[in-house]
Each structure stands twice: as C-alpha cells, then as structure tokens.
C-alpha cells in the first residue's frame, strides 16, 4: 500500500506566475489541500484548462495536465473522459474562456452530464488580455474596451449552468477557504458534470468585484449560505431569512412573530428554487453553496455501457470478419 499523499505531493516545481494577491493562489492552495483526501493516485488525475490566467492552473498541479486552447477545455476533457472513464478529470476555466469563446462546449458538456469537475474562475474580467470586460461584467463597466461603460448584458453563470441541464451547480468564493474546500469535495463526489463557479478576485483589473461577499466586516449581511434541508437564514446575527410572498421571495427579519418555520427551506433537488435563488439581485443576499444537485446517468457511463453491450452481443471486434461483411465474391 502506498503511503497516503499530502498537499505537497500535488505541488509542482514550476514557479507560480499569477500576480501577487491574485485570487487564483487561494484556489490553487485549497485544491492542493483537498486532493489527498480523495485517495486517488496522482497518475489517475488530470487537469485540463483553456486559456486565461485561471487556465495556467494545470502547470501547478503535480498530476497529468493539459493547458489547451481558448474555450475548448470541456470538449477536450469530454474526449478524454469518455474514452478513459477510469480517470478523475477536472476542467479549469475562466469567465471568458468558459462563457464567451467556449460557451458552446460548456453547455454541451453540462447537458451531456459528462463526469467532469468544472471549475469556472469568475473574476468578471479578461485577466490575461489585460482587462477587457467579460460576459459576466456588469452593464456600465468601464474597461479598456468599454471606455464609456459596457452596454453588454452579462451572463449569470449559475443560470447558464441550470439552463444547460447541469446536474450539479454550485458557487463559492476564493477567500472562503473552508466553504471552497467543502464545495469542491461535494462537486467531486457528484457523479456527472459538476459545475462550480468560484468568485475570484483579480486585484489588477477588477479589484474588489466581490468585496460585499468577501469583506469580513460586511459579508455576513450579503452572503446567503445554502444548506440542503435548512431554512434560508443570513446576516451577521443570523436574524434575517428568505420568505415567499406569493410567488416572490422576500427578505424578512426573524422575530416579531416571524420564525424559521416561515422561511424557505433549501432543497437541492428543486430546479425552480435553484433558478429563483440564482437570480437574486441586491438587496437580496447573494447565495453561495450548492444550488442544485440531482442524479442523472452520465454520457460517459452510458457510452461505455453501449460498448460493453455491443461486445457482449457481437463478441470482440474481428477485423478480418468485418472486411468480409456484406456481399463478397471470389475471383479465381
């Protein structure tokens, strides 16, 4: 029996090249920390990324890794996972990589439910190309390519994933190390495509984009931590909750006759609830945690089952017999 791996076993000798203070460091550290807990040999783990600051990730993971081309990582990972179901395949992408140029591949990997762990680092900016607005940047954002403010309406990564029929959809934050780790473990345990949006600070081109959610002084009033089977409560004093008013959700203060019983209880299998939560805009709090988790057969297992079935029915492939299929004739 090999000895258990540690965090260090997942660190490469390559110098990490992100800007000092970049949120990507914290994500890398957390991923390296939780990896040993999965008990999977390093050689069976593969990190695949596209292009962007975030997509440099595989170089720093001492596993198999593939830094590919812009936006295509989900498609490359699909080919690998389908033909090598034995591997533990992770995809690292950014908001530009995954939602702009690679949006098509992302939604198709999700709907097919390929057994991948997809981590989308959302800094709401194009980092690597030095600060243009991205498909998650807010309307009005002033960047180098939008000097008068962006007129581009953004995507919400969570609703995109839900709309693409993803079976596991979660959001977490770079600096929330514990929540990040727990969320990634949940994602990994899920069979099928797991989509995790990680809010990530780009301190160079979009600093403080998630301050509300990461600043210790105020975050409790802005974050709504989702927990399956528990009422939706938030606030520094945990004195505010989410209640339904007709078909709409509203924030209520607990007390004065309002109790936990009046609040919405989170249910990860409720797609309508997931959509509703995902669409919360201020003054509603921003949900983090697992929005949605259901089980559905994965493409890779279904495809491999078909191959096994074909082999059981037709026997292993026989090339000589295959060539002779159909009408053959002999010339003497």
């Amino acid at each position: 029996m090999a000895t258990a791996l540690t965090r260090k076993d997942f660190v490469t000798d390559q110098e990490v090249r992100w800007c000092p203070g970049c949120g990507d460091y914290a994500i890398l550290a957390q991923v390296q920390k939780i990896m040993p807990e999965f008990g999977i040999p390093r050689e069976n783990i593969v990190f695949i990324s596209g292009i962007g600051c975030s997509s440099r990730f595989p170089y720093y993971m001492n596993t198999y890794g593939f830094h590919t081309i812009h936006g295509r990582a989900p498609a490359i990972a699909t080919g690998l996972k389908v033909s090598r179901p034995d591997l533990d395949v992770w995809v690292v992408t950014g908001d530009g990589d995954g939602l702009s140029i690679g949006g098509n591949h992302l939604i198709h990997a999700l709907r097919r439910n390929i057994d991948l762990n997809i981590l989308l680092f959302n800094n709401r900016i194009y980092g690597l190309t030095k600060g243009q607005y991205s498909p998650t940047s807010e309307v009005g954002k002033v960047t180098k390519s939008s000097p008068m403010g962006s007129v581009d309406y953004p995507f919400n990564p969570i609703t995109v994933a839900l709309g693409a029929s993803a079976t596991f959809v979660a959001r977490t934050i770079d600096v929330e190390q514990k929540h990040l780790g727990e969320t990634l473990k949940r994602a990994h345990a899920h069979r099928g495509a797991s989509f995790v949006e990680i809010l990530q600070n780009c301190n160079i081109f979009n600093d403080g984009a998630f301050n509300d959610l990461s600043d210790k002084a105020i975050k409790a009033d802005h974050q709504l931590v989702l927990e399956h089977g528990k009422p939706l409560i938030f606030g520094k004093n945990r004195d505010q909750g989410i209640r339904m008013n007709g078909q709409r959700a509203e924030v209520v203060a607990l007390g004065n006759g309002v109790t936990e019983k009046d609040l919405v209880v989170h249910d990860e299998s409720n797609l309508a609830l997931a959509f509703m939560l995902a669409n919360f805009e201020p003054p509603m709090p921003a949900p983090v945690g697992v929005f949605y988790a259901v089980s559905r057969p994965t493409y890779d297992s279904a495809m491999n089952a078909q191959l096994a079935d074909a082999k059981a029915k037709m026997g292993p492939g026989d090339v000589a017999a295959l060539l002779k299929r159909g009408d053959v004739w002999t010339v003497h």
């Binding site: 390559q14 593939f66 590919t68 081309i69 591949h105 074909a310 492939g317 009408d327 004739w329 010339v331």
Partner: protein, 633 residues
C-alpha cells in the same frame, strides 16, 4: 464514336457463349457499358444503381461508380433540383472511371431527362417511364412540349416503358397503397436492366430480404417488382436481345464492393486494432463525410467510440483529449469544418499528439456545392494553420485506396506522434469499386509504444530516429506531466519563452515531419520510366481519369506518362528528379492549381496546370485533348 444502331456499349466480336445466368439465351457481347440511373430523389435511383453494381461485381466485371446527389434533400418532386443520379461503368476490362458519358440513360421523369440528356451521345439508349411524362411533370421540368412525341429524341434509341403501370399491375392484390407501389418502380427498372445485361438478381433478392426483414409485405412487393421487371425484359420484345458483358480478368482473390467512406472507416478500425488501442472519433455531421461517422458508430464492439460533437471544433478537441488518453483518435469533416478545426490541429502539432484529420473535400468556397467533388483543400491542409505547423498530408486515389490511406495515416500519426491529414473527396467517398480484400495479418504492423518507465522520462525526450516524443498517457504512475500550447522547453516541456529554444523546437518538429520522406516508397511511373515528352502529375480522386487518359494517348504512340502521388507532405524525395526526366509536366487538378504551386515552389519546375472547378470529375476526353495539346505546344 459511332455505335451500331441497335447496341448500347462498345461492341466486340459476338460470341455464342451464354451469360452468367443459365436461363439466358446468348446475348450480344459488349466489353463495357456505362449506365446512368436518373430520377427524382424519391425514386430510389441510388439504390437501383448500387444494387446493379453489386450484381455486376458478382458477375465478375470490373466496376467504377459515381453517384450524383441533389443538394436539397427534399427538393420539390419532379423538379430539376430534385434529380438524383447514379452512373456505373462495368466492364470486361480494367476500368478506371465511371465513364465520361453513359451509353444507357434511365430517366424516371422529365426532370431527370432534362438534367441528363446533354450527356447522352447520339444513338445512346434512353429508357423512360412513359407515364411520368404527364403534363404536370413536364411543366415542373420546364418542357413546353412532350419530348417523347415531338421528335426531339430522334437521335437516340428510345425505349418507352410503362414502368408505373406495369409495377402497379405486378403488385395488384398486395394491398399496398399507391404511394408504396410507386416506390417499387426502381426495383422494376432494376429487374429490367438486370435482364438486359444478364445480371444475376440473387444478390438483390438477398439484400432486400435483409432490408425488409421487419416488413414482410414490403419485402414481397419489392421482390415482385424486381421479378416483374426481369420477366418483362425476358418475355416482351421491347429489347431485341440482351447483352453480355463477360467477366473481367482481374486478380484472383476475395472481393467486395466498397465506397471510399466505408473503406476509410474500415482502414481506421483495422489500424486501431493493429495498434491494440481503442478507436475514438469525434465528429460533427457534414456532407459528404458523415457516412464515416455512421459506419464507425456501428463498430462499438471493437471498441470504437464515436462522439457526435456540438461542432467541428469540439469534434477535433474531443479527439485530442482521447489521443492524450491513449486512443487512436480521429476527426472527420469536409472543407468548412477544416477551417473550424485549424486552431485545435495546431495544438496537436505543438503538443505532438497522434491524430488523424480526414477531409472529405467538396466543392467550395463556403457552402459551395456540398454534394459535388473538388480538390481545393490541398493548400489548406498544407498551410491552413497559424505559425509554423507542418503536418503530414496524404491523399487517397480510389475508393479502395481509402482503406490503405486511412491505415497509413494512423501508422504515421502514432509512429511520429503528429496529427496527419487524410484527403479524400466526394467522388471517392460515394464512388464504389470492387476491392480485393487484404490479408489482415499482412498489413503493416502498427507498433504503439506507450511510455511506462519513469526512469529518465521527459515529455519531449525524442526517439533519435523518428524524433517522436514519448506517448505517456494518464494512468501511468510516475509519468505525471503537463503539456500545452505555450512554447515549451526541449526535453522537459516546461513553459519557456527562450528564443533559441523556440526555434529549436519549431525546427525539430519540421525535421520530424520532413523525415517521413525516408519511408515513402520510390515514385512509380506509369509509362516511360526513363523519361519522355510529357508526364501527367496528379493526386487524389483524379487517378482513374488520368490513368485512362494517359493510356489512351499512349495507345496513339505518344510519349506520355503518369505519376500519381499519395504523399503530399512530405513529397517523395525522388519526385523532383523523376519529374525532371520529362520535357513537360502537366498537372490536372480539380482546383485552380494547388499541387502545381507546390511543384513550382519545391522544384522550380515550370508545371503546366489544367484546372476544372465545376464540381465534376475530369472527363477522360477532356484530358486526352489537353494532353495532346500539351504534347504539340
């Protein structure tokens, strides 16, 4: 060329020998016949043509076929846009093409007649379904008077057959509705032609039994129509006699008919099994490449993975992922898809992963004529990527050659750790020919060596001879490593922006590809091996028409030879020297002159281009005329 009035095909000395079918009276002997079946796309002409081909193959003829599909799947019935055709040339001699023009044209309606009549030479045999020439159909085809009655067809031998009525009568009592009966007309025609050319119909019967296994009433109806057509030929005196096309003298062995797309699919399966690795195809449907996907999807037990991707980019990307994982990885497409795949192919060049990209070329630019052949993607295969990214390019020359080329593409990809582009085209893809089945045990061995030894492992430590880097797949303990598109250091593969290292890596990859020339067999010259007045240089699907044309001109005593290249990158190392043995080099291509550009650039030879961009193959007659002109000029 004048044909005897009663005859179809080239007459040869009549013999008293019986045909292949014992029930037949001796027929008039022909050494080759070209038939074109034409009808509405719903008339089942492809099927009739394919079955006639199968029957002819079983009768021992050499064959070449050329289907001609309409671009619209459901063009309005009876219109010119909806005409579908299938031409086959069957012969007692070796044939190289489906024939310039038909000896026999079957036209199931006025539109089919109008679309094809120009190709029928005077005295050619024209068989029509008389009832289809009604007012409505004539109008849809744009006829103002009925050509069957207005003497406009007097220069042909016209046989007006009541196909619809006779089929209806034959199927009377089957209980099938008119529509279903109408759809059996192609079998009636097939039966009639099978009689006329003494083809055995047993193979068609067997094929129908397979096809209609689950619908016995349709099976019975189709069989009845087939036999009714056959008996019609036999018992009526519509045709003065039947014709006999004796078996060709072809190499002994086991044969089957094969289209280029099928052969491509089979070549890939055979190669993957020789390599002992699973096959993975990532592909997005596109005419005329989709049949490779369809075919491979049926071979799951081998194992073959087929992944119908969301687009061409995902097709090639998924294949790259599978290659990283150790599969024999493929992507298949046609022109428009080639452009979409370019960036990902560049990634495979840089990361040196084995991958075969098949481009079944079609007429462009843009959507162009999707069902018509062209050879205009050669330069895109050679150069259609950014940066310095050389790739081996090979091209198949006949439908059966697609098998060998697909096999060879996998062999090169895995041996040299590189993407390889295989060029075929619409003519090869859907054209068929008899294929002498190879002995699987004698196919070249594809030795795949997956790295396993962590001792001294480095992702870019190369084989000293081939310069291939190791194939180290996930799951192998101790070989964990990272690759990617960024410039990377020699040996370690670590990201590196060192200028000298970048040049070293680019040049090393180029040397690796150029080195493939070492194992390209010496160039074969058909004709004058020592050189002569003119050599015709070609590549791809033009093989048949070029070979036939060169043969015909040689028969006139001229010094003309033919070289047909399979390896386009790298080109064979002796090619320049061989071409220089000839006073003139003529390069006919179905493009604006792409190989001729390469020949001029690589060898400083003043190649003469002969170019056609009509979505149609060369006619042998066009080529012989051009060759003679080049010899004179």
């Amino acid at each position: 060329m004048a044909l005897p009035p009663e005859a179809a095909g080239h007459a040869v000395e009549s013999s008293g020998l019986g045909g292949g079918n014992a029930a037949h009276k001796p027929g008039v002997r022909r050494d080759s016949v070209v038939i074109r079946f034409a009808g509405d796309s719903g008339d089942g002409m492809q099927l009739a043509g394919m079955q006639f081909t199968a029957e002819s193959a079983l009768a021992g003829n050499d064959i070449a076929t050329l289907p001609d599909f309409p671009a619209e799947i459901r063009a309005p019935a009876g219109t010119l846009a909806g005409v579908s055709g299938f031409q086959l040339n069957f012969s007692s001699r070796e044939v190289f093409t489906a024939g310039d023009e038909p000896n026999v044209l079957v036209a199931m309606n006025p539109a089919a007649l109008k679309a094809n009549l120009d190709d029928l030479p005077p005295n050619g045999v024209l068989i029509v379904d008389r009832e289809a020439f009604n007012d409505a159909n004539l109008k849809r085809a744009g006829y103002t008077s009925n050509p069957l009655n207005d003497h406009s067809l007097d220069k042909y031998q016209v046989f007006q057959v009541d196909v619809t009525k006779l089929t209806t009568l034959a199927l009377h009592g089957t209980g099938l509705n008119n529509r279903a009966v109408f759809r059996c007309r192609n079998l009636f025609v097939l039966g009639m032609l099978s009689w006329l050319y003494q083809r055995p119909i047993e193979s068609t019967q067997r094929w129908l039994e397979g096809r209609f296994k689950k619908t016995p009433e349709l099976l019975e109806a189709n069989l009845m129509a087939l036999k009714a057509g056959y008996n019609y030929g036999d018992t009526t005196e519509m045709f003065a006699s039947s014709y006999e096309v004796p078996a060709a003298t072809i190499k002994a062995g086991l044969y089957r008919n094969i289209t280029g797309n099928s052969a491509t699919a089979l070549g890939f399966v055979a190669a993957a099994m020789s390599a002992g690795r699973p096959l993975f195809l990532g592909s997005y449907p596109i005419t005329p490449a989709s049949d490779i996907l369809h075919e491979l999807a049926g071979f799951k037990n081998f194992p073959v993975y087929t992944f119908q991707a969301e687009d061409e980019i995902a097709g090639v990307a998924s294949a790259i992922g599978a290659a990283f994982g150790g599969a024999i990885a493929l992507t298949t497409t046609s022109g428009p898809g080639m452009n979409l795949k370019a960036e990902a192919v560049g990634l495979a060049v840089k990361t040196e992963l084995p991958l075969v990209i098949t481009d079944v070329q079609r007429a462009g630019p843009s959507t162009g004529m999707p069902t018509k052949p062209e050879q205009a993607d050669l330069l895109v295969a050679m150069y259609g990527r950014h940066g310095e990214s050389p790739i081996p390019v090979i091209a198949a020359s006949t439908p059966a050659d697609c098998f060998d080329c697909a096999y060879e593409a996998v062999r090169l990809a895995t041996k040299y750790m590189t993407p390889v582009i295989l060029l075929t085209d619409n003519q090869l893809a859907n054209g068929a020919e008899p294929w002498l089945l190879p002995d699987v045990s004698k196919l070249p061995d594809i030795k795949v060596h997956l790295a396993t030894d962590p001792n001294g492992f480095m992702p870019y430590r190369r084989d000293t001879e081939t310069l291939a880097r190791p194939w180290a797949v996930p799951g192998t303990p101790g070989l964990e490593h990272r690759i990617g598109g960024l410039s990377s250091e020699d040996l370690t593969g670590n990201v590196s922006y060192s200028p000298a290292n970048n040049e070293l890596m680019v040049r090393t990859r180029a040397r690796k590809i150029a080195g493939i020339a070492r194992e390209i067999p010496p160039t074969e010259i058909f004709g004058d091996a020592q050189g002569g007045d003119l050599v015709v240089l070609g590549w791809g699907s033009t093989f048949g028409s070029l070979r036939e044309a060169v043969k015909q001109v040689r028969e006139k005593g001229k010094s003309v030879s033919h070289i047909h290249v399979r390896y386009l990158n790298p080109l064979p190392s002796d090619l320049g020297d061989q071409l220089r043995k000839f006073k003139k080099v003529l390069v006919p291509e179905l493009n604006m002159g792409q190989l001729s550009k390469l020949v001029r650039a690589d060898y400083l030879i003043d190649a003469i281009g002969f170019n056609k961009i009509q979505g149609r193959p060369f006619k042998v007659s066009e080529l012989t005329t051009r060759i003679l002109r080049a010899l004179e000029g």
